[in-house]
Symmetry: D2
Subunit: 411 residues, 4 copies
Amino acid sequence: MNKTEIIEKIEQGKIKMYEIENYFDKTESVEIRRIYIERQTGKKFDSIGSFTFDPNNVYGKNCENVIGGATLPIGIAGPLKVISDNANGEYYVPIATTEGALVASINRGAKTVSLSGGVNVISEYVGITRAPVFQVANIKEAKKFKIWFAKNYDLVKKIGEATDQYLDVIGYKIYTFGKNVWIRFNFDTKDAMGMNMAVVATQQMCDYIESKYKNIRTIAVSGNMCTDKKPALINSIEGRGRIIEAEAIIPNQILKKYLKTTADAIAEVNHIKTWMGSALAGSIGFNAHSANMVAGIFIATGQDPAHIVSTSMSYTNIESINNDLHINVKIPSLNVATVGGGTKLATQMECCDLMLTNTSSTLKEKRNINKTDKLAEITGACVLAGELSLHAAFASKNFVQAHQKYGRSTP
Amino acid sequence: MNKTEIIEKIEQGKIKMYEIENYFDKTESVEIRRIYIERQTGKKFDSIGSFTFDPNNVYGKNCENVIGGATLPIGIAGPLKVISDNANGEYYVPIATTEGALVASINRGAKTVSLSGGVNVISEYVGITRAPVFQVANIKEAKKFKIWFAKNYDLVKKIGEATDQYLDVIGYKIYTFGKNVWIRFNFDTKDAMGMNMAVVATQQMCDYIESKYKNIRTIAVSGNMCTDKKPALINSIEGRGRIIEAEAIIPNQILKKYLKTTADAIAEVNHIKTWMGSALAGSIGFNAHSANMVAGIFIATGQDPAHIVSTSMSYTNIESINNDLHINVKIPSLNVATVGGGTKLATQMECCDLMLTNTSSTLKEKRNINKTDKLAEITGACVLAGELSLHAAFASKNFVQAHQKYGRSTP
Amino acid sequence: MNKTEIIEKIEQGKIKMYEIENYFDKTESVEIRRIYIERQTGKKFDSIGSFTFDPNNVYGKNCENVIGGATLPIGIAGPLKVISDNANGEYYVPIATTEGALVASINRGAKTVSLSGGVNVISEYVGITRAPVFQVANIKEAKKFKIWFAKNYDLVKKIGEATDQYLDVIGYKIYTFGKNVWIRFNFDTKDAMGMNMAVVATQQMCDYIESKYKNIRTIAVSGNMCTDKKPALINSIEGRGRIIEAEAIIPNQILKKYLKTTADAIAEVNHIKTWMGSALAGSIGFNAHSANMVAGIFIATGQDPAHIVSTSMSYTNIESINNDLHINVKIPSLNVATVGGGTKLATQMECCDLMLTNTSSTLKEKRNINKTDKLAEITGACVLAGELSLHAAFASKNFVQAHQKYGRSTP
Amino acid sequence: MNKTEIIEKIEQGKIKMYEIENYFDKTESVEIRRIYIERQTGKKFDSIGSFTFDPNNVYGKNCENVIGGATLPIGIAGPLKVISDNANGEYYVPIATTEGALVASINRGAKTVSLSGGVNVISEYVGITRAPVFQVANIKEAKKFKIWFAKNYDLVKKIGEATDQYLDVIGYKIYTFGKNVWIRFNFDTKDAMGMNMAVVATQQMCDYIESKYKNIRTIAVSGNMCTDKKPALINSIEGRGRIIEAEAIIPNQILKKYLKTTADAIAEVNHIKTWMGSALAGSIGFNAHSANMVAGIFIATGQDPAHIVSTSMSYTNIESINNDLHINVKIPSLNVATVGGGTKLATQMECCDLMLTNTSSTLKEKRNINKTDKLAEITGACVLAGELSLHAAFASKNFVQAHQKYGRSTP
């Protein structure tokens, strides 16, 4: 069968789009599928057809029914000075974005914090979570099951861990309502984001529990107390993935020179806008635009962009102390990886590489660092830089001018 | 000055990275900047250097300090049958993603709903919002200002509208706390997402207010009651951008054949996982994974990915009525565009084009449709397809198998 | 039948407890029922038997199956200086409480603010709300119904208003999800809290809608978007009952003398505890203990104590400006009455009377004041006094000492 | 000094209201203070002057500046059949309320569930919490302090426990943001609600920490992550006080006979109103009116009424299984006591006694029960009865009629 033939067969409904891989290799399949879609729509998709990843790596791992690639511009912010357990140097941060002024704004923040001694960051790994929900007969049985589970946790854990050499079950917490029982498992999935591993391990554990405990059934391998890709306070309170704390102090003089405003003015914006305004709006994120920095880095480095959601539940606090500015950012749920998922695609791998490289001529990193922690820490520092810059822009009223200069395109 | 010379000057700190555009054209600037970063990091970024957009369109509009492009695979889900005011046909949905199994899952949902008569969608445009925060002397003055503002709204509105021919100020709501006053403006920004226009108009209105009303000052042109890119209930309750309602009915037989489960089983998962589980987790999104579909479409079609945050606050309800499945999705805050922002970049424009093309041989669209409404409506339908598929996967327990087959890559 | 006979008949299951009123007058019924319960439990309830209200007023209005009264101590805080549209003077606030130190603490706050010029208060009446939920066939029908309702609102309103001469329907807002439609009605119920009237009017409007609009049915006369007696952000954002703003400025010297601390110290506590701590806890109330003041006043004056819930969603902001303390309190949902409900019982009526009496020898109230607004305004001022006092106690670390002195009883 | 003289001295500002106890005994002080207030207001407060508690017990423990008592009617609901670890019998529940129809409604629910076999309840004691907030120099120091605290927890715990023989420190959880550190302590305070003890112990622990750890200071002995008397999701997720699960199954026939409706109809109301409506309203309580039952019991039995706030964050789920109704209630944060606080006042003690007495002639309680757990369990059962009744009233549309009959008083 040649390309034309298979396209005709798809059009006739004899073969399905996803079956192309049965007849052609991955690279050709992408082309054939695109041609088919071009014929269906009567349009040409030449740009989509031009991409850098290898289809052989993508199929069965990152995407199905591939027709080509989506390309976003990458802007560079930095160098950004970061001091943490795994980073110690100056880093360039790749931001994949189509929002004008964003990179310029982050860059301004990066410069300001770097000149002020850099951003101190601490990351704590609490692990990715998955919370299956089970059902037993009634509340008494739910209580009994909790006791049984506590006793049998080690066995269940072993079942979960047997599914993957890179996965450890590192804890759990049980919640009940009526006859329904949620077990929120925490997993250490090393340098992978781990949601896939976690789901496989969880299903095995669910099956095991069903086989060992009478009269229990799994309602869903995810019962939404995980909570994955929805804005949920359980993640803010318990943490999920990594908890990030980032901190910087900007001296009065640097503030004036580079951000054209004062610590008092910025702290006032932070109090009224970021704390009071967010509270009045019923927001569960108390920041200016942390989602922007996270989205830019996540798309560039191959992270799951749906995790922007939980990361947007971050907190930014700014104080003026003796006219210097003290800024803190907390991200209670940051999910990143340096292996697996999108991280191994062509541009994504290069962006990870770019971001993780210390370009300082003087600062040296420790020997045995964890590169995923490092990525998380630099991300946290970058969020802080962006938060600082936007808060300052509001305070100095040049926010609009920035948008007028960079962000505007005539519709 | 040649390329090598300018790179050296940057390395010597004599020229800044963003100043390259002063000496070279946009396309060359991207290359020079990338080479500079390669020298700084000692790495090669060939894939980043291969991209499809025209740097001349990007600089000053979508991104600064560009070094190249980030490319994600695009998978196709569909055809998806959508019936709404602006769509009436079968559409292919481009999903830019690196999460294995996602496109396959959406595709399964799309097939199921399309065979069942398609997804009915209603979109309501409430406009993008921006809420500056002002400060007056005290609560009495805040009350007075509210009265003044109501009287002068028409004048303020004119000032805002004068900033852009495509922008209308279509409403406002005032909130106060103490001496602080937030005015949440709603804007009609036509086919643009409109945040940029809105910010420019808002600043002009702020300036006008300050010039006309004694003793008021703008604290910030955005006071976080907008609420942009943070998960805030004000957007769920008041709506922001577009409010989407999507609906489908899946007959018993189709359910059994394509989703391998029953309406009762799926409805049970929906009630326990999506409503109860979300509530117990303190979630303000009651869905399974709407962020996934939205992220895939947003990145493919050039929307602002940070807006995934508010879109994730959606609701999915599933009922079993006479063994048929009734599914509803509500997205109270969907922000999309077909002009401006990332929508005019090469692959993004093609994806918009792709998604908006009716491929049905029998169904015809109306004549005068709004293509941005249409994009929003197809997005809503796609979210429903994805929600159906994942709920069904949980119910039929094949969720894990799907991940094992498609989603797995060895770290 | 004499008392003994009826008690025996109840014990034999021949007569039900609530049927006693069929044979005896209200006062005797209370006694008989108490004796019956005493026999059932083998205990004596003499204190419960001693009460001040007239059972004839209570039965069929405030309580059923009455056996007597519950008595709480009333402490007096004040005089509290309040300046508002309806209050202008010094007021004593009755606090019914069993929490030691509370009255002393409020009193301290009252003294401090009164010496500083009093509390400025503004109340805005937005009306009590009730949101029935209806169901139609699908989302299209829901949209049609919204249009129909907008056209027929005036007629529906008339139906509602016909149920009670004291009730006006003053507005509504429609929310939909799928085929379900919530209409959130706002009612002006004059000096009554109005929930009862509102429910009666709403049912009539529901019946009318069902009779006029084909294929609609009422799911529940309250669809929880009201939201009554649950902590819901819709009330914070839209307001419910009365929205209160209260404000005071405490000079440096008074602060030092009466609260033993500084404006800076209190503002720091406010920022870290009340804003940051609340946000991190996932709280939707940003205050120290507003529920305490509200509970004390509500129980004393005959308000519905379940409304403490929504009132606890209040905001307290404290700033230090030139070493003076500026404090603001916002309560977005305060539900109070001066007629109906518990307000006409003996001690409650006296407490209303007490609280509404201006005891200042110099300050004069306006002529035509609304006494329910006035009650709300004094309540708001009292919340501010209590918030100030507790924040100051934390700042000056004498919080614990206060509890040790007043709050302690040996278990 | 006689009564008239002291009143004159108060009027002259020579003696303060709270100083009356220095000259007269407690009982006389109450009278003098009331007379003083009567003279100030020109009103008579005879009903307030008639009360049942002994002023000697109140002063310095429950209330300051006492002028008398507030009396509310107590209605009886029951007998309510409760089966739990600490209850096993039929109980009458005293409801102090002024809301007509409430007791009748709860009573109807109580009858229905009791005829159906009663309410199964499980209570779990997680302890009252108090979360002081500290400040150190920066995020690094915060991390160090966490490690130090973990090592020194046993010592700190001892300091806390030394403050009261009835108090145990049973756990803690640390949260940080920037340089601020919250330690959320859990306390076992036996049969007392324990907030007072907890605050005293916490202050001692704070002082100890300050004395042992260099460069730390207490910002506030309560940092709002406790969270006390504000509606905060941390309490729903972590639990506070007691976590209650209550459950009942109502057979089809009983439902029809006593509640005039069907399981399907009630389950539909529950799904649309209680789950969907609450979610759309941004509510963090998913119930119909649990605050009503809790308020009634709390005021009657001397609990802290401000704790109604957290208790209102409860969940009610109702399903129809084979036409029988299955109802579950979860209250994640119920704070009750049987010693201390208001529980030892005259009517309150009688109400505790009343509520805790098993009136069943056949069911026997276990020997060694915990009466505070028992009170919590009966409260949980009563909430379930009230939830059932109101849900059923909506379903059967007789909600309004009930209000018209009982709840109405002419303004």
